[in-house]
């Protein structure tokens, strides 16, 4: 979860005030982050490129919160139908 917060916080404050702390990114992203950091682009481009990669990494691994609940099924409904109703033969 920390990855998401790091990216979001930087974006909220703005890279003009606080650049992305690239060293806080997970190891798997370090290589591409370093490649982007070495390029001659401005700070905003670097942020957008790094974030594009990092969010894809995040989205591919995200797990919705799972629970365990007792699941009780409702009993079958018993309808009293008129004799000759076409629902009788259908069921």
């Amino acid at each position: 979860m920390q990855l998401k917060e790091t990216l979001v916080n930087t974006a909220l404050i703005g890279t003009g005030k606080k650049p992305l702390p690239a060293n806080e990114l997970p190891d798997a992203l370090q290589a591409s982050a370093a490649m982007i950091a070495e390029s001659k682009h401005d700070e905003e481009t670097k942020f957008l490129s790094t974030t594009a990669a990092a969010l894809n990494y995040y989205r591919a691994g995200v797990q919705p919160v799972k629970f365990s609940l007792p699941a009780n099924a409702a009993p079958d409904e018993k309808k009293n139908l008129l004799p000759g109703s076409r629902f009788n033969s259908a069921e």
């Binding site: 998401k4 990216l7 979001v8 974006a11 909220l12 404050i13 703005g14 890279t15 003009g16 005030k17 401005d42 700070e43 905003e44 481009t45 942020f47 957008l48 490129s49 974030t51 594009a52 969010l55 894809n56 989205r59 591919a60 691994g61 995200v62 797990q63 919705p64 919160v65 799972k66 629970f67 365990s68 609940l69 699941a71 009780n72 099924a73 409702a74 079958d76 409904e77 076409r86």
Partner: protein
């Protein structure tokens, strides 16, 4: 061909037609009821002097009737199909009379004619000029858009909710001018974020970086593999020519029609049909754009299957497809594919990692039940693990009343933030949500 009564009723244009269709669905109101391999037809005495002649094309589901009603299908067509579904034995087998063959042949002709149209000489020079001009416009537009994106992240997103209604409007209009409607639509998507919600920051950043990624990918179009060139071009807003696609060889399969949903957008209704090919294991999404009072070209009924040839749009793992030829309609038969949420999540993970522009993936699951506790709703898999789903009425009550907590096969749209049930089936009964 097996349809259920619910499926026929789902074809009706409004509640009034359902009622009149049901009223008419008694054999005594019909003077003639016949069936052949291709069609159903019958004569129904109406208020006119001559009985109305109603007919249904069974191969490529369609209705026609001689009555003056402007509803489509009209009550006669619905009643005819309802009668057939309830009791096919009442229809006598016969050779099609002229008024039926005429219509059926005309429909077949139309399909052929469609493929014949074109053959117009193309002014290659003018075309090249036009596409060059467009490329230049898009390149300029993308430069402006990137400046705008950079300004946003430099100054921070904190103040965006205050101007949520219009901060995206100017760049979106600019992209229309730049002939990049795909980017314009992505920008409009920024206005649809719930800025009162808990996670708008993430949603906004996610969308912004994806717009950036699309622009950057377009700038490097020449170094991308062919699939990605097509994918990126569609994202920017290049349309793929229907005629050219339909000329390609398609994928023939028994396609199970999983769900049909509608989205309203700018006066146009978009019909989304999800299909699953049992032999190929591929999913396909067929979109139909329906303007007001227009009749959709294609009538795919959820809970049936079609033996058909589909052509997929070009791109990376494309899902969107076009119907090339439809051979016959058949019964629905598949079971879910995944037994638990972990497998479904793996599919989502694969989809996202293969294509960063993917939002959600279609998933077929076995034995999922729907559970409600307080105001929260959950989906429960066979292992008893639960995933929370966004609750909204009246869907929740509808789902509960059908399932009663029992497990069903389910077709879901899985995204990182939520699982959205689209249809479910068990015991040969099919429900669309």
């Amino acid at each position: 061909m097996t349809f259920s009564e619910e499926q026929v009723i789902a074809l009706a244009p409004d509640a009034g037609s359902v009622k009149s269709g049901k009223d008419l669905a008694t054999a005594s109101k019909w003077g003639l009821l016949c069936v052949s391999d291709k069609a159903l037809w019958g004569e129904c005495q109406g208020s006119g002097k001559l009985p109305y002649q109603a007919q249904v094309d069974l191969h490529n589901l369609a209705f026609k009737c001689s009555c003056p009603s402007r509803k489509f299908p009209c009550k006669h067509g619905l009643a005819l199909l309802l009668l057939y579904v309830r009791d096919a034995a009442r229809f006598s087998r016969a050779a099609e009379p002229e008024w039926v063959t005429q219509w059926i042949d005309k429909r077949a002709d139309k399909v052929e004619k469609k493929s014949e149209q074109k053959e117009k000489p193309v002014d290659a020079e003018a075309q090249a000029k036009r596409s060059e001009a467009r490329a230049r416009k898009i390149a300029d537009g993308i430069d402006d858009l990137q400046v705008w994106l950079k300004d946003l992240v430099r100054n921070g997103l904190l103040s965006v909710p205050e101007r949520a209604y219009d901060f995206w409007q100017n760049p979106s209009k600019r992209m229309i001018d730049a002939q990049a409607p795909g980017l314009a639509a992505m920008l409009r998507g920024l206005g649809k974020i719930n800025y009162y919600g808990a996670d708008w920051q993430y949603e906004l950043l996610n969308k912004l970086t994806r717009i950036y990624l699309a622009t950057e990918a377009y700038k490097q179009l020449n170094s991308l593999p062919q699939d990605w060139v097509e994918e990126v071009k569609s994202l920017i807003g290049f349309t793929q020519s229907k005629e050219e696609l339909l000329a390609q060889p398609g994928v023939r399969d028994t396609w199970q029609v999983l769900s049909r949903t509608y989205v309203e957008e700018e006066q146009i209704t978009i019909e989304r049909n999800w299909l699953y090919g049992t032999n190929t294991g591929r999913y396909a999404l067929i979109l139909q754009f329906i303007a007001k009072a227009q009749v959709p070209e294609l009538n795919l009924m959820p809970g049936t299957s079609v033996d058909a040839e589909l052509v997929f749009y070009k791109g990376v793992n494309p899902l969107r497809a076009l119907m090339k030829t439809q051979h016959s309609v058949g019964p629905f038969s598949i079971t879910g594919i995944y037994n638990d949420f972990n497998a479904a999540l793996q599919a989502l993970s694969d989809g996202v990692s293969q294509n960063p522009f993917v939002d959600s993936v279609p998933v077929l699951m076995n034995n999922v039940s729907f559970y409600k506790q307080g105001s929260d709703c959950y989906l429960v898999d066979a292992k008893g693990e639960c995933i929370k789903v966004r609750s909204h009425q009246p869907r929740d009550l509808y789902l509960l009343s059908i399932t009663g907590g029992r497990p069903f096969n389910m077709f879901l749209q899985a995204s990182e933030t939520e699982f959205e049930p689209l249809s479910l089936w068990a015991d040969k009964k099919y429900y669309v949500i």
